[in-house]
Symmetry: C2
Subunit: 433 residues, 2 copies
């Protein structure tokens, strides 16, 4: 059973705070192991990567077979059933159409002092995308990471995906091909992250690494951060559904379970102004949990971290939502747009009862890589911006320097940075002299 | 003497690679100390902050005096000479005008399938800004961090600035007041970062922390990352000047020294197609180093990390610049705009001989918080975006769900995420049934 809270009860604040601060993830400390792996790959390159792949993935590769050949990719892609390939194509097209609109514009203007100012966006030259192996090897994640990179204009996009015992997910290769990925390596773990960051004889280094992974991958990404850019380190998935009584309890139950089935550490929350509706959803969840394929995982998540919160009205629901800052926020109410206006901290909002969160995972268009663990208070989901960087531009004329140079001289002096001031003074002397 | 390189020489590639990979910073490992300080502040709140301030800053504060009162701020601001106040005001106005243009726009559209998609930007609710004490207590940094936050719409902006032995820099307080900072605390070090991240009885927690600091502050920011957002961890400053022979060697020398005087670990590089001009700049630097107030610092930086590189033409200069990915790039050539088009990795570009980098430090308008240590390959300077986050929005109609829901069902099944698929199926059944 999940926890039931009522905002009208006396100990609500205590219970809600406990819910907010519940530690859902208990990552093993693998930092020492990862540090050794990274040092090995930096020191020995391919040889270290191959030895570690033999050890962890029980797979004997060579420098030549580390990378999937075009023929291998084509052969795997041909194994994908037609309806799956079509679904991937449709998803890719929608994701691309959404992310193309995110491309920011350059700017340049001349201000009243005569200074020409602006900025310019340019893509990261090379990016690496990590794709987990085994159960969590999701083709949808390949699309969600690779398409923004290619839309941004990244020239070289390399994927690392482990293939334990040689088992390949053909859908991952097809998704990579559809997204325009340039290189695919069958390596994984911290050794793959190290190879992407520092390069080996076979793998050229990249500038930015994104994508999900296990504790080893996450620790490796933290360690190489600075040498390369990384995306967020994602925590377990979360959904908050705000629903009034005018919903089918089974739909809401399925939406809650679609997060819970990801991971025992996932969190599914329902806020409703109608206590009876909350009970009906709980009953619908229990019924679905009898038959769901992943009922063991979903049931554990729901039991340990699920909650149904009754509130007095939707304004209170929005206030609580802002304290939760959920990764996914589903608004199943009569006027979802009005409620969305009040929910200011959320990774992604799904408006109305016809928008199950799962649409966003696959085909909606927006990215499904989103801030978890309350970080939507200060961060955003993956976008083309993650594969671009901005260079600011400034150009003075002699007149502009006359207008603003003296202030720079004064401030440089006040900060005791004499050469700063003199670099302006020398030029002004020429103009005035 | 700096190192002299010539791209035509046989061992150039070796020398240039060595220059690129030179380790300029040797941060002490203070992580254990910082971990203890953070734990103390989380456990004991104000009491820990006050004890640590007494210890490190030799300053006896109470919970009441930890924060500058409005009267104290007004009294300190009144001490600032009029010409300095005016320079700060002019700088603030220009920085504000530049950053206002960075505000991104919300978007919403309905696509051919009937899905309404878009995104919305909202500000971080509360931000904290760290300002170092002592010599590196720069009022310009206050403006550069605080103004983007306020332009973004951050409601609550708190500054922590240590005042060792009670010594206050009135310009810092005035800059804070001009920028619209809401709270100023006279505390510093890892204890200030911990207080901002976790809160104490006196200081409410914030969502994002920015600003420069020493090794303790940097380690504390790394540790609280995740609980709050942080800006980059900046390394020592750098400048690359690309200059042809048609420049005054003394101007270029001063530009190089304006980075070198920051820090013995700073790096100043000149690339020129004219070897004789390079020698002339070296001579001009030597002359300036005889009289500069900060000649000890600037001289050490120039000796240990400075370089003058002769190239065959400006195209080669652009190629080397892209490998360096400098924080500051100054283009003192006949057609700086054309050359800027080829320099794709740089934090900020200063175009033409009338635009000394120091203009950008104070009054140009663009931000002076910029990516160091080659990270301009994948990251950008501080901007209003650092104080905003994006929420993606999606709203399906029944027709849209009919059009794209089936693809989501197929992909959910292919990823063995049954509840994801069922959440779509249940709705489609209602529509079809």
């Amino acid at each position: 059973m999940p926890v039931f809270l009522d905002s009208a009860s006396q100990d609500f604040e205590t219970q809600f705070s406990a819910l907010l601060s519940a530690k859902r993830e208990d990552s093993p400390d693998v930092d020492d192991t990862v540090a050794r792996i990274i040092a090995d790959v930096r020191g020995q390159g391919d040889a270290a990567v191959l030895a570690l792949t033999a050890k962890f993935d029980r797979l004997a590769l060579t420098a030549e077979t580390m990378r999937f050949s075009d023929a291998e990719i084509a052969a795997e892609c041909a194994r994908v059933p037609r309806h799956e390939a079509q679904a991937l194509e449709q998803a890719a097209e929608r994701i691309r159409a959404y992310h193309v609109r995110q491309m920011p514009e350059d700017a340049s203007w001349t201000d009243p002092d005569g200074a020409t100012l602006g900025w310019r966006w340019t893509p990261v030259s090379a990016a690496g995308l990590y794709v987990p192996g085994g159960l969590a090897s999701y083709p949808s994640s390949v699309l969600m990471n690779a398409i923004p990179a290619k839309v941004a204009g990244v020239q070289r996009l390399a994927i690392c995906v482990p293939t334990p015992d040689g088992v390949v997910n053909p859908l991952v290769l097809l998704a990579a091909r559809i997204a325009g990925v340039d290189e695919i390596y069958r390596i994984g773990g911290a050794q793959a992250i190290a190879a992407l960051a520092y390069g080996t004889e076979t793998i050229a280094p990249v500038d930015k690494i994104t994508g999900p992974g296990n504790a080893f991958v996450a620790a490796a990404k933290r360690r190489v951060f600075g040498k390369v850019g990384i995306d967020m380190i994602a925590g377990p998935s979360e959904i908050l559904v705000i629903a009034d009584a005018d919903n089918d309890p089974d739909w809401i139950a399925l939406d809650l379970m679609s997060q819970a089935e990801h991971d025992e550490s996932a969190q599914s929350l329902l806020i409703t102004p109608d206590a009876a509706f909350g009970q009906a959803v709980a009953a619908a969840v229990d019924k679905r949990l009898q038959t769901l394929e992943r009922r063991a995982i979903a049931g554990a998540s729901w039991r340990d971290f699920g909650a149904i919160i009754t509130v007095k009205d939707l304004d209170e629901a929005a206030d609580l939502s802002n304290r939760i800052a959920p990764e996914h926020l589903e608004l199943c109410v009569a006027d979802p747009d009005a409620l969305a206006g009040k929910c200011v901290h959320a990774g992604a909002i799904f408006l109305g009862g016809w928008t199950p969160e799962a649409i966003g995972d696959y085909v909606g268009g927006p990215n499904h890589v989103l801030p978890t663990a309350r970080s939507a208070r200060f961060s955003s989901g993956l976008s083309v911006m993650d594969f671009l960087k901005r260079t600011t531009m400034a150009k003075m004329t002699p007149e502009a320097l006359k207008a603003i140079g003296p202030a720079a001289e004064v401030l440089a002096q006040s900060e005791s940075l004499e050469a700063h001031g003199l670099s302006v003074t020398a030029r002004l002397n020429k103009l005035n002299g």
